[in-house]
Structure formats: structure tokens, C-alpha cells
């Protein structure tokens, strides 16, 4: 593998506290050297990338994606999903287990990471918390972890039963994994296709109350408190409501290890964006009310939210061209997360760039325990994103790398354009110039 020297860029590595012009040398899949501009000692013979005017940062990490392989390759594959990830600046993605079959075994966990899958960036499987994600029998977390699973979750299905969730938290704590909960009390959300509120009433659609999310988050936090001595780690996936955020905030004050992620669509859109039955605005959890969105933004800005995660959920075109109530949940997000976060969190809402990048990299790495990632300190993995922080561009899904095009962000102006994505020392994506 050739060494790569990234020259003339501005290194932003929040977890190492670096915010300065630095040159970077990547060698053997690791960060070999960091030096002032023009000062690299080992750059001879390295492939040189001119990063003048660009930001050089730790590769982004998306802790919540659906790659659809195995089983639903018509929607996305590990190869196409990770190509989209690379185009979006991501060097690692954590893949949810709701594939066909469900990833609840060490075999499948290894299969997903095999070189034959053709992944452009690192795939970290999140294994099912329960057998078949049915919410009944706990899987063997030690074996799953040994196979490479970085967390357990029944994403798409909540773990409803108290005793099963208690058991999952206990086993995960012992195995050093976090339990990622899709918080939705499905007894309160039957038949719902959007958020419950004035908009759902007006559109004649059944709505999902915000309590469906917050009641499960509150229940889970009670269990984490009960199990306090074991220090279980509960991570709330795609948090979308003010009430759930309040619960997480309180749990943290009480010293519990409760973390959460927010998806860009939940900090940018409300249920009004469903418009006249736009199935690209249908996802689970649904787009919420204005007050929820504002609370979520507040949570991101004040630090309660630990990560931005896309919940990248590809679907084939024909699956979304149906009646709103029949459409599947989910939107793609890997190629828009950085552009939207830069434009809105940093550009409009003045969040410091280092903090935005941290939410997209160092913090998810820490949540999943990915050592040597989310930072560019010497010796860490050579996972790098190089992007132009000022470039504005208009997103067109048809130009994207994902197999799917189901996005509500078509035509939106993005800020920050990825120039190179380098995963473990290999160029995974280079923008056409």
C-alpha cells in the first residue's frame, strides 16, 4: 500500500485538540506522522494530496445504517451502501441487524465483514439483541462481540418486555457492549404512519404519539438505574421527541450511562414536511412537531445528544411510489449528513466546526468503543475525510452512490463538499474534479 501525504490542509481533530494547519502522512493503514506545513519527514515517495483550503478531519462514523445485505440486495448492498458512505465522508458505518435473515449469529456477523462483500469503508455489525429480533430470547453477546459486533439492537423492533430488556442490559454490560434501543411502544403506534398531531388529523392519517417513544426511553432508564452496579450502557437510537430528550438529560444528571443519537431529518424537518403525502417524509420515528424539533436542536447544541446518525434506510423506487400508509419507513442519509450538518448546525446555528465533526466521528467512535478511530492522533487508523468546508452544492439523489434514491432532501443546498475519503490508508472516494 502506498503511503499518502495530505499536504497544506487544516487539520481538525477535536478529540486530540488539534485545530491548525498540518500535513499528515498515512502509512500502512495508520497515521504515521503529523507535522507543520512542509515539515513531514517521511513523505518521500508518498502519493501527495493537495489539501490547501480544505479541512482534514477524522473519517466520519455513522453508527446507524441499514445496508440491506443479506436478503434485500435490490434496495442496497454492502458494496453500494459503503460506496455512498465513502462519498459522504464516512470511513466506518455500524450496520443494523434487520437483514434477511436477521443478523443474530456470529457467522452472519463475520460474513458481513468479509472482504468478498466489497465494502468501500469499514462495516461494524450491530447484532440483534434477541433471537430473530423477536424480543424474547437473548443472544450470546460474548460470541457476537468476538465475531466483531460493536453493539446489540433489535432496531426496527423495540424490546418491549421489561424482563427481556433487563436481561439484555445485564448481558450487554457483562459483555462490554451497549444496547441500542429503537424506542417505540408499538401498542401505542398501531397503524400509525406519521407523527400524531394536528397534521396527522388534517391528513386523515393515523398518528404515532410522542409518548410511544418517551415511555420506552423512560422505562429503559428505570432499568438502567436498577442495574446501576453493572454500569450498563443504554443508547437511544434516532431520538426524536422533547420528552425522550428530557428523560435522557435527567438520566445523565443522575450519572447513568445513557446516550442518544439524532438523525439530520429530525433536527431539520417537522411533520409539516409530509406535505401532501410525500412518502420520502415517511420514516420511523416519524418527523415530529415543531416543539420536538426545537428540543432536539437544543439537545445537540447543549451536548446532551452524543451523535449524529443517519438511519440510512434505502428502499427501491417502486416501494415508495405507493399510498402513504402502505409505504415503507425510512430515507437514505449517508450522502447528505455532512452537508446538512455543516449547513445548518455549523452555518446557521453557529455550532463550532470541531463539535459538529465530533458528533459525526469521535463521539460515535467512543460510544461503540472503536479504538483508534474518530481521531487522527499518530498511530490511529488512517481514516480521514478531506473536505471543502465552504463549498455549497445542491444535492441530487440521482448523482449519488447509494442504490436507493429515497430522500426528502432532493434539491437542498448543502455546505461542505467531500474531496477525499480515506479508509485505513486507502482512498475510498475521490471527488470527480
Amino acid at each position: 500500500m502506498t503511503a499518502i501525504a495530505i499536504l497544506g490542509g487544516h487539520l481538525m481533530d477535536p478529540s486530540a485538540g488539534v485545530d491548525a494547519k498540518k500535513d499528515l502522512l498515512l502509512k500502512d493503514g495508520r497515521v504515521a506522522e503529523i507535522a507543520g506545513p512542509g515539515k513531514l519527514k517521511g513523505a518521500a515517495g508518498a502519493e501527495k494530496l493537495d489539501a490547501s483550503g480544505l479541512i482534514v478531519a477524522p473519517g466520519l462514523i455513522d453508527m446507524h445504517v441499514h445496508l440491506r445485505e443479506p436478503g434485500q440486495e435490490y434496495k442496497e448492498t454492502i458494496a453500494t451502501g459503503t460506496a455512498a458512505a465513502a462519498a459522504g465522508g464516512f470511513t466506518a458505518v455500524a450496520a443494523m441487524p434487520n437483514t434477511t435473515p436477521v443478523n443474530d449469529s456470529p457467522e452472519l456477523t463475520r460474513w458481513m465483514q468479509a472482504p468478498e462483500r466489497g465494502a468501500a469503508v469499514r462495516v461494524f455489525p450491530i447484532a440483534a439483541a434477541t433471537r430473530g429480533s423477536k424480543g424474547e430470547a437473548i443472544n450470546d453477546y460474548a460470541a457476537l462481540r468476538a465475531a466483531g459486533a460493536v453493539a446489540v439492537s433489535d432496531d426496527g423492533h423495540p424490546i418491549l418486555k421489561d424482563n427481556v430488556m433487563r436481561e439484555a442490559l445485564t448481558a450487554a454490560a457483562r459483555g462490554g457492549l451497549c444496547v441500542i434501543q429503537h424506542a417505540e411502544d408499538t401498542r401505542l403506534s398501531q397503524g400509525a404512519s406519521m407523527n400524531l398531531g394536528a397534521v396527522s388529523f388534517k391528513l386523515g392519517l393515523r398518528g404515532m404519539p410522542s409518548e410511544a417513544e418517551s415511555s420506552i426511553v423512560e422505562r429503559d432508564i428505570r432499568l438502567v438505574a436498577e442495574l446501576r452496579d453493572l454500569h450498563p450502557h443504554l443508547h437511544v437510537a434516532h431520538l426524536s421527541t422533547a420528552a425522550a430528550l428530557t428523560a435522557v438529560r435527567q438520566a445523565r444528571r443522575n450519572g447513568l450511562r445513557v446516550t442518544c443519537e439524532v438523525a439530520p431529518h429530525h433536527f431539520l424537518m417537522t411533520d409539516e414536511h409530509v406535505g401532501l403525502y410525500d412518502t420520502h417524509a415517511r420514516m420511523n420515528p416519524p418527523l415530529r412537531a415543531t416543539a420536538d424539533r426545537e428540543a432536539v436542536i437544543e439537545g445537540i447544541l447543549d451536548g446532551v445528544v452524543d451523535a449524529i446518525a443517519t438511519d440510512h434506510a434505502p428502499h427501491a423506487m417502486h416501494e415508495k411510489e405507493v399510498e402513504f400508509e402502505y409505504a415503507p419507513n425510512g430515507i437514505i442519509g449517508l450522502e447528505t449528513a455532512l452537508g446538512l450538518s455543516m449547513r445548518w448546525l455549523h452555518g446557521e446555528w453557529k455550532m463550532p466546526l470541531g463539535r459538529v465533526l465530533s458528533l459525526l466521528s469521535a463521539q460515535p467512535a467512543a460510544l461503540l468503543g472503536l479504538k483508534g478511530r474518530g481521531t487522527l492522533a499518530a498511530g490511529s487508523f488512517a481514516d480521514v475525510v478531506v473536505f471543502d468546508p465552504r463549498a455549497e452544492w445542491v444535492y441530487r439523489a440521482m448523482e449519488g452512490k447509494s442504490k436507493a434514491k429515497n430522500t426528502p432532501f432532493e434539491g437542498w443546498t448543502m455546505q461542505g463538499r467531500v474531496r477525499w475519503t480515506i479508509c485505513e490508508g486507502r482512498i475510498a472516494y475521490a471527488a470527480a474534479m
Binding site: 391528513l203 386523515g204 436542536i297 402513504f324 446557521e348 446555528w349
Partner: protein
């Protein structure tokens, strides 16, 4: 972290709300909101003109034009009156229903629409159990689509025929409608508002003509947020109070097919919200009684009231044909649309 800092922060700018691209076809009638007040007036006026026109002349207006009736739900009144209305104008109609077509084999709404278009349909009248279906069909085919009821969402021609019923009785001889036409009129909509597309279309339409809409029903069937659907909508949970305020009262059927697990004590419901002859005589002896049908005698309304002198139920059905003639004509010709939008004129002179 610092609360002082966060309150000092400027209210964040946010992405713009979506801009509606509907309707794609100016002949479509997806929602009552697609019609301007002027447009509502044109439909009412034209309904009367068409009703009074000689059958021969009327039958030449859409002679041999092709309309498809696409029905995914059963219907007596709406389907028959659309069919009669279209035929009265000379159009050829064809009925496609979900139970005797390739829809049963899994053909999507989009493909069904495109197939009908390829067969020469110039407009589609759609009845569908899923809210928003008419929007999907219009976006897929770009044909004039008339929404004949989509799920729990809207039923615009029903609201228009209800309006015609109200205007005929309350404002006889009226020539033009405006935002004061129904000033001083209170229309109570009673019962299963949550699942009712008739209620939604009426609560959006009637206040635009100055009417006050009172929604009445139990919380399970009438959530508080109903009032935020638009201006001029209020909730009165007490049926007798609502009746006393009513110029007209519109009774709704409990939509058993849409209750989706909701448990309802029907005896308790009848006790509180059934319109009986005694209640009517005591609290609203002059009120018009409307019902979009089908009525369930002995449930939301007693037989005596349904057949009684205040009942408008069959008159509503009659107005349905006239209104639907106007709406069908509007779909396929420039009649009933703003002149500026449609350069060709005169075929109806």
C-alpha cells in the same frame, strides 16, 4: 450548557416548509381547498345550470369523452351519482373496482392509473381507502383526478353537495357566494369525526363561506386537535348544547371498518349522541338534518328523524348528481375554471 447563552441565541433559521406542487392538472379536484371561493361559486352555479338544461343539450357537453371510475371501496351514492352525472353529460364511463380487476392480483395504484390512461381515460374518479391516494394517482398520471373519497381524509364533492343543500334552504335564490354567504349559520358535525372524510372536507369548506362549524363527539372519535385544521372550527362535546346552537346538524356514521382496535361502548354512544325526534324537537326544531349516508338507522339517527320533515338526507343525494355534473364538466373542459388559466373558451356558450 449555559442557559443564559442558549436564551440569548437567536431563534434559529430553519429550512423552508414544502411547497405544494398539487394539483398538477387544473381539472383535478383533490381537496375542497383546491377551489377558490370563486371556484366554489362557479361549481354551484354550473350545477344549477346543468340541472336545468335540456337533457339533449347537456348530453352533448362531454359526448364520447372517456371517464374512468376507479373504486377501491364499496359505494352506492357516490359511485352511482358520478356515473349518472358523467352519463348525463354524454361521457362514456367505465367502472374499475378493486374486486374485479388486476388490483386483486397486486397491481399498484400507479400502474392501474397509467393503464387507464393508456386505455384512453381522460379523467379518473377515485374512491380509495387510503388517505392521500388521489394525490398519488394525480402525480402518477397527471390526468384530471376527482377525489371521490380518500381514506379518512377528504370527500370534496360531498362537501360541495352539502353546501348546495344548505344554500338552497338557508339562502334561496342566491346567485353568488362569498365569505359572508353563511354568516350566522352554525353547522354541527356530530359523531365519528376522526374517521370521517366528509367531516374534514366540510370543516375546511363551510367556514370559508362564513359558517361556524361545531364539532361534537366523544374524545375517542373527536380529538381536540381537530380544531387546528382551519379557522372557524370549534368543539362542543355536549350534544344538546351543540343542537341548540345549530342551524344545521350533520350526523355521521360510526365507521366500524376504520376503528382499528378502538373499543367503543355503542350503547353509551347512542345515549349521548344519537339524534332522536325528541332531542330534535326540544333543542333544534328548525335545524336542517344532514347525513352523508349510509345511515345506520337506530344508531346515530332514529328512523323517525331520518324520515322526518327536517331530514335533508335524500335531497343531499339529489344534489350530489348536480354537483358532480359540474365537477365532471370542470375536469374535462375549461368550464368552471378561472378564465385566465384556460385560454380556449366558448365551447359552452
Amino acid at each position: 450548557m449555559n442557559p443564559a447563552q442558549s436564551t440569548a441565541r437567536r431563534k434559529p433559521a430553519t429550512p423552508p416548509p414544502p411547497v405544494s406542487v398539487f394539483p398538477f392538472n387544473s381539472g383535478s379536484l383533490l381537496s375542497v381547498s383546491d377551489l377558490t371561493l370563486e371556484g366554489v361559486g362557479r361549481v354551484l352555479t354550473r350545477a344549477t345550470e346543468l340541472e336545468q338544461m335540456s337533457p339533449l343539450r347537456r348530453g352533448s357537453i362531454l359526448a364520447k369523452r372517456r371517464l374512468a371510475l376507479l373504486f377501491y371501496e364499496s359505494s352506492t351514492r357516490t359511485r352511482t351519482s358520478f356515473e349518472l352525472a358523467a352519463k348525463a353529460l354524454g361521457a362514456d364511463t367505465t367502472l374499475v373496482s378493486s374486486l374485479s380487476s388486476s388490483i386483486e392480483k397486486g397491481e399498484s395504484l400507479k400502474d392501474t392509473g397509467l393503464t387507464l390512461r393508456a386505455l384512453g381515460a381522460e379523467g379518473i374518479i377515485l374512491r380509495h381507502p387510503s388517505s392521500g391516494a388521489a394525490w398519488l394517482l394525480e402525480a402518477s398520471t397527471r390526468l384530471p383526478v376527482i377525489n371521490a373519497g380518500d381514506g379518512m381524509h377528504e370527500h370534496p364533492t360531498q362537501a360541495l353537495l352539502d353546501l348546495r343543500t344548505l344554500v338552497m334552504h338557508l339562502r334561496p335564490g342566491l346567485r353568488e357566494v362569498n365569505d359572508q354567504t353563511l354568516a350566522g349559520v352554525t353547522v354541527s358535525i356530530v359523531g365519528d369525526v376522526l374517521h370521517s372524510r366528509v367531516a374534514r372536507s366540510n370543516m375546511l369548506l363551510l367556514p370559508r363561506l362564513g359558517a361556524r362549524v361545531l364539532l361534537c363527539g366523544p374524545k375517542e372519535l373527536l380529538p381536540d386537535m381537530a380544531t387546528s385544521s382551519g379557522p372557524g372550527i370549534e368543539i362542543e362535546r355536549d350534544f344538546e348544547t351543540a343542537l341548540r346552537a345549530s342551524t344545521a346538524v350533520m350526523m355521521l356514521r360510526i365507521q366500524a371498518e376504520r376503528l382499528a382496535g378502538l373499543k367503543l361502548d355503542l350503547n353509551d354512544y347512542k345515549g349521548k349522541y344519537q339524534l332522536t325526534g325528541q332531542l330534535l324537537a326540544t333543542h333544534a326544531p328548525k335545524a336542517l338534518v344532514l347525513h352523508p349516508g349510509p345511515i345506520i338507522r337506530g344508531m346515530e339517527i332514529t328512523a323517525g328523524v331520518a324520515d322526518g320533515p327536517q331530514s335533508m338526507i335524500l335531497e343531499q343525494v339529489m344534489h350530489g348528481v348536480a354537483i358532480r355534473m359540474a365537477v365532471v364538466e370542470r375536469a374535462l373542459t375549461s368550464a368552471g375554471r378561472p378564465a385566465a388559466q384556460e385560454p380556449k373558451k366558448g365551447d359552452l356558450a
